[in-house]
Amino acid sequence: MSIANETARPAVDWRSVEVTRFRKRRYAADRRLQFYGMGAIVIALGLLAILVTSLISTGYSAFTQTMVTVPIELREDQIDREDPFSANWRTILRDSLKKLTPELEASQERDYFALFTNNAQFLVRDQVVKNPQLIGTTVSFTFPVADPVDQLSKGNIDRNQPEQLRRVNDVQIAFYDKLSEQGAISVPFNWSLFFNADSRFPELAGLAGAISGSFWALLVCFLISFPAGIAAAIYLEEFAPKNRLTDLIEVNINNLAAVPSVVFGLLALAVFIGWFGMPRSVPLVGGMTLALMTLPTIIIVTRASLKSVPASIREAALGVGASKHEVILHHILPLAMPTILTGTIIGLAQALGETAPLLLIGMNAFITSPPAGFLEPSTALPTQIFIWADSPERGFVSRTSAAILVLLSFLITMNAIAIFFRQRFERRW
């Protein structure tokens, strides 16, 4: 009957104008969708490109630092050999700075001294206290210039602007140019970005405290979440009976993975700090909080990798008389380890970038010395970025970008290690 119907219909002329037009319209719609898809990808990747370029273009200048080299006369009548610490370092430094520019007028002194970093006297003092034999000689010291001058030397300040709009005045520019002509100015690589702790002055601020704080917090996070995650995964995958309780555990693990990070911060603040009386701002509490956040990731990854080990290995081990624990500890777990490590490193990389919970437990304090352990107050890399991003000085903008670049390079390194592990050691069964 259907055949009869088919033949009853008038034959379609596939070459007729309206059918061709209809087909063209359909193809055009198809191409449009494809075009929209390409557009979406271009937008997404374009945003990534803008993000990276803007970070690099604002951050690269913080990897160098304008320094000034000044010969400083350490006269014995000014410095007590027995107690170099309490000499009048401000006067000693200023005397030497004045000698550098003999034509300095008294009215210009204020502007002139503002060229150099505020803490120059302490930098000189610390050097001399460390090497008391320097007293009595003239030593040339190299220390950073103040932030506005640093920006001037890097070309971030327009000399043609009216004086009151600039953060360096004409007198200072004249002095800077003179120093530059004398060869006292240099722009070396900014090691202090990595070896100094935080400071109110951008030219002295560095990431040492933040990096070591992040290191201690991640160490605590790893020491807690790695064994606990593997143990929990082994139990749930290999031993747990299927009942309400284990279902509840699984629902909990899946849900914890999606709880906003700031809620973990509230938990840490109320429980660890409020109820248990742990100290604020320390990497130990930060690491414990991050461990709670990383745990679900590690459990999920470990379970998947335990599942992927073929049953034949398990059966062979059981066959030669191993106990269930021995099968898992001696055979299954070693074979699953590369995948577990890959997942753990990726989880730790996420934890390294986590900011909000660390803010709530006070790891955004202003601390001028790196922590010596996980019980000393410190910041972490992401919270340091947050602190610097909030600081008004121009120098902190490029330092924030530089800190972000440092953080991103840590993340890239960790992910690269994870990929290496996966490709080098992972077995396909």
């Binding site: 143990a231 031993f239 899946n254 914890l256 509230l266 938990l267 248990f276 745990l295 991103l408």
Partner: protein, 458 residues
């Protein structure tokens, strides 16, 4: 002292392990195959008995030592004086005593406080010494038990495996403990908040001005805890983020699964994953440094009035963060559609675009909806971008060019630098946190249910 105690536990554990193993080996040589467990299990068993009880004791001791000593310190003062103090005053007094005990004296403290500091030092020493003694005794008892138990019939392997099971079960329960901890802390602190501020004011009030004076002489607002403007702000920013992220993410997924060839897919997917791996604090800085000024300049050029911390900037940057998330979840949903449906559609003469629009998208819709709900829950819970790029003042408006605040911004700003949980200002953060937790929980459960239902279909 604490570090030394840990060191002693560690060393004695090793001693217990080695001693038990050697002893078990000598027994094994005597009795041969009658021995139930291998020497290594006897060693591990002794190590567990030595180390684990001592570690549990020391952890509990450290957890409660300060609380107990603080109570004892407060007991030194006249009871009437202590009763008159608020908890903030008490913690101030205790920290003063602790500062003095550590040798940092500021000004001239009263004699009572100096005496308390002296007592504190004595007590701390007594506590440390007795902790050391107790831990040492526990360790030695563990070694003794471990060694005494060794014999051909002692089933050391079973004992070790039981301990291992206990450890594994404990670790599995950590997830439950965490959830209980979150709920307990949020509910407890919110309960305190609602005993100070009526619940109807929080849920229905239209003004949010939590900066109340903490001291009598401080100049600050009168305090108003109506959370509606905060939630409106959260809703505005999340909506902006979703408006940008959903189409871009979905179209990206469609192109990558259906149009792109293998090579293109292999290069673009990892690039998108980079976007997902960037920490949110970086996005926040990007919003402040680049996007917000750009939107402001652009808007001002058009003659519009744009706030420096506009909702559009925060929401737009949040969208960048969400694109890879939505894209990968939609990708999964599209890839899960059975091949037969796709091929059936092609066999009918449909173009790729028609197949996608009329067959794949309807079939994958539950999965995509689940992904969008998960993304929405992320957008609501996202913190750093809004803390850096959105406003602090709660205003009831939905203009994307204006500045609005969000739940997470308020939580962070209320709690930074404040730790006394005895005033509505800090406690309100926990009430907001409880709401945030519940909202995201509902969204997550909903999303997972939708996705699971859909998976059962094929």
């Amino acid at each position: 002292m604490v570090a030394n105690t840990f060191l002693v536990i560690f060393l004695l554990t090793i001693v217990g392990y080695v001693a038990a193993r050697i002893h078990a080996k000598s027994v094994l040589e005597k009795v041969g195959a009658q021995m139930h467990s291998r020497p290594i299990y006897h060693g591990v068993n002794a190590a567990i008995w030595t180390g684990v009880p001592a570690l549990i004791i020391i952890l509990f001791w450290l957890m409660f030592q300060n609380t107990v000593i603080n109570q004892l310190l407060l007991g030194l003062f006249e009871p009437s004086r202590i009763e008159a103090m608020t908890s903030a005053d008490k913690s101030l007094l205790i920290s003063e005593i602790r500062q003095i005990a550590a040798g940092r004296i500021f000004g001239t403290p009263e004699d009572m406080v100096l005496a308390a500091a002296q007592k504190l030092n004595d007590w701390t020493w007594i506590a440390r010494a007795s902790m050391f003694a107790v831990v040492l005794a526990a360790c030695l008892a563990g070694v003794a038990f471990g060694l005494r138990a060794i014999g051909p019939r002692f089933r050391a392997r079973y004992s070790v495996e039981r301990s291992l099971n206990a450890f594994m079960i404990f670790c599995s329960f950590v997830a439950i403990f965490t959830t209980i901890g979150i709920i307990a802390s949020l509910v407890y602190e919110s309960y305190q908040f609602f005993s100070m501020v009526p619940a109807y004011e929080f849920f229905f009030g239209l003004r949010w001005e939590p900066q109340i004076p903490l001291r009598a002489d401080q100049v600050a607002g009168l305090g108003a805890f109506g959370a509606i403007p905060v939630f409106v702000g959260t809703f505005v920013i999340a909506t902006i983020a979703m408006v940008f992220a959903v189409p871009i993410g979905l179209l990206t997924a469609i192109y990558l699964t259906e149009y792109a060839d293998h090579r293109v897919r292999a290069t673009i997917k990892p690039l998108l994953e980079i976007l997902a791996g960037v920490p949110t604090v970086v996005y926040g800085f990007f919003a402040v440094l680049i996007v917000a000024p750009l939107i402001r300049d652009f808007g001002t050029g058009l003659g519009l009035d744009v706030a420096p911390r506009s909702a559009l900037a925060a929401g737009g940057v949040m969208a960048i963060m969400l694109i890879p998330f939505i894209s990968s979840l939609s990708d999964d949903a599209l890839a899960a559609v059975p091949r037969a449906m796709r091929e059936g559609s092609y066999a009918m003469g449909a173009t790729k675009g028609e197949t996608i629009r009329k067959v794949l998208l309807p079939a994958a819709l539950p999965g995509i909806m689940g992904g969008i709900l998960l993304a929405l829950s992320r957008a609501i819970g996202e913190t750093m971008i809004v803390v850096m790029a959105a406003g602090l003042i709660a205003s009831m408006n939905i203009n994307p060019l204006d500045s609005v605040t969000t739940v997470t911004v308020q939580i962070v700003t209320l709690l930074i630098g404040d730790s006394a949980f005895d005033n509505p200002k800090t406690l309100s953060a926990f009430a907001l946190g409880l709401m945030l937790f519940l909202i995201t929980l509902v969204l997550n459960v909903l999303a997972l249910t939708i996705v699971r239902k859909y998976r059962e279909k094929y």
